[in-house]
Symmetry: C2
Subunit: 110 residues, 2 copies
DNA sequence: TGAACATATGAACAATTATTCATATGTTAT
DNA sequence: ATAACATATGAATAATTGTTCATATGTTCA
């Protein structure tokens, strides 16, 4: 134990924090934003819905890679799919995404 | 090439996206939020500045682990340090953090 | 100066994850 | 039904990353 009021502070702060499960979920959610391929995919989808092959060309990666990452985005409810003929069209599912992007961009621009 | 307008769409979207470097930086920034230990550290710091040993006790991890993660947070300008005697006191450096947390929490609560 | 304590750092290990290749599934048109 | 195309998925690999132990650095006080 370090300083005089250590114990009190630990107890005080612990009381104010969301439960561990919630913070675990939160970390998992942000993990999705922590990859540049996924960031670029989401960024592309800001404009409009896109087919998988368009996304692959835009971000310059294999169709397979993009499919895998789209699955990750789907699992976290960040994008939704729509089938039209042979193509799958993906679009953003959540308006929080843009705000989170803005916050992030503001931060790194400082 | 997939559908009729594939090429046009790819060109159009590419034109609207921030440059690759920026998006890479953005991903690196969000990567910091993608770990539950760091999330819990930031969450604890919402209340007030804390010493390393308090933080370690609050999140229930080794002092060493916490020090390593605080360095990561420092490198991304998310926290700042203040020495007072033997202790180092850390605090949040950026008001964006709280907003990003809020957005994330709102998302996972749906 | 040296002992005691708080924090930081380096090296090693375990675990997670992004990417690719190969292939399966799903869809359309002949 | 079969060919042609778009997308999804499984397995393998390479790379990144979080944690811990051991130890170094920094600070206070006797």
């Amino acid at each position: 134990m370090a300083h005089e009021d250590h114990k009190d502070i630990v107890k005080e702060i612990k009381g104010t924090m969301p439960d561990a499960d919630t913070l675990f979920e939160l970390a998992d959610f942000f993990k999705v934003f922590g990859d540049s391929t996924r960031i670029r995919i989401m960024c592309a989808l800001f404009e409009k819905e896109l087919s998988v092959c368009c996304i692959a060309d835009i971000v310059g990666m294999e169709q397979s890679t993009v499919s895998h990452q789209l699955r990750v985005l789907r699992q976290e409810n960040l994008v939704k799919v729509r089938r039209e003929g042979k193509q799958s069209y993906y679009s953003l599912e959540d308006e929080h995404i843009q705000k989170i992007f803005e916050m992030g961009l503001e931060h790194i621009m400082e």
